[in-house]
């Protein structure tokens, strides 16, 4: 069965870039969200088994979203994709339960490597 993948980023260009960076022939059902609120909604609808989450977003940012996912023990494996590459940001998202942190711009090689490492591919 296809894995549901959610791409959450306020930038349409970034969402598209992320979708293009997913491995070829990966059996997935892709959904999109523009902010954390939309992401939580999508996760509730079962559309986010794997979530690629940006950090800097209006309405509800990535850190708030991760906190909500962790506190409510939601069924979502989150990989943070961000331009904020400060070590502190990486440590914080890992602490909040994110599987990994990918630096933008994302490449197909990088996303493949991370997904393989967590047995998602």
């Amino acid at each position: 069965m296809a894995i549901s993948v959610l791409i959450c980023d306020d930038s349409g260009f970034a969402r598209k870039q992320m979708a293009r960076a997913l491995p070829d022939n990966w059996d997935v059902e892709i959904s999109f969200a523009c902010n954390g609120e939309e992401a939580l909604q999508a996760i509730a609808e079962g559309k986010g088994e794997v979530v690629f989450l940006d950090l800097t977003m209006p309405v509800m940012d990535g850190i708030q979203t991760l906190t909500h996912i962790k506190e409510n023990d939601l069924n979502a494996m989150v990989i943070v994709v961000s331009g904020d590459i400060q070590p502190e940001a990486q440590a914080q998202v890992t602490q909040l339960g994110a599987l990994d942190f990918i630096q933008k711009p994302v490449s197909k090689a990088k996303s493949t490597e991370v997904l393989k490492r967590f047995g998602l591919l």
Binding site: S11, G12, F13, T56, I85, Q86
Partner: protein
């Protein structure tokens, strides 16, 4: 100079914003490492504006604030522009503390400090943007726009040959410190179509 009609679409603006987002993150990481601080990243603001509206583009700084600023020209692959780094004067004490400057800040020490931070932030941002657009920018010498002046004075001392500019504003703050600085990247009017073409390439499927 030939006048070309320039405009940017919503998709292009979004793409510039994302490119700026990645570049400012790289610059912030460098600054964070150097100063051993956490830089708070904003969402960059991208606008195609008239040069005479420039003051309004500086949303991160109040018009009544005393400011100091430097500018630095850049050029690469037919894309030229100017970077402006503007500090709220209230920030200078905290920055000198972080950079471990001597206690007494006189005008010349402040100038050195401005130049140091400007070189780091502007250089890293331009490299970040350049690497995404496949452009190598060369930077000119930084020039002081003014010290301890009102924002309008600082901006009006600058004269541009362009009537329109693609402006990217990034407002940096540092966690736990009273530091507020605005980095403004202004792309020349005749560079906008070149940039748009590059961005269109990225937007293609």
């Amino acid at each position: 100079m030939n006048k070309v009609n320039v405009s940017i679409s919503e998709d292009q603006r979004d793409c510039y914003q994302e490119i700026a987002n990645i570049a400012m993150g790289q610059a912030a990481a460098l600054l964070a490492k150097l100063l051993d601080v956490k830089v708070i990243l904003p969402i960059p603001v991208v606008n195609l504006i008239e040069v005479n509206e420039l003051r309004m583009a500086l949303s991160g700084i109040e018009a009544s604030d005393k400011v100091s600023g430097v500018c630095q020209g850049f050029i690469g692959n037919r894309i030229s522009g100017e970077a402006l780094l503007i500090f709220n004067d209230a920030s200078l004490g905290d920055i000198s503390q972080l950079l471990k400057y001597p206690d007494e800040l006189d005008t010349s020490v402040e100038l050195e400090l401005l130049m140091d931070v400007a070189n780091i932030l502007i250089g890293a941002c331009l490299r970040g943007i350049g690497s995404q657009l496949d452009v190598t920018f060369s930077q000119g010498h930084p020039v002081v726009l003014g010290q301890h002046v009102n924002l309008p004075e600082l901006i009006s001392t600058n004269h541009y040959r362009w009537s329109k500019t693609l402006a990217i504003e990034i407002n940096y703050k540092i966690e736990g410190y009273n530091i507020n600085c605005d980095l403004l990247l202004l792309f020349a009017e005749d560079a906008i179509n070149v940039l748009n073409n590059k961005v269109n390439y990225l937007l293609e499927d």
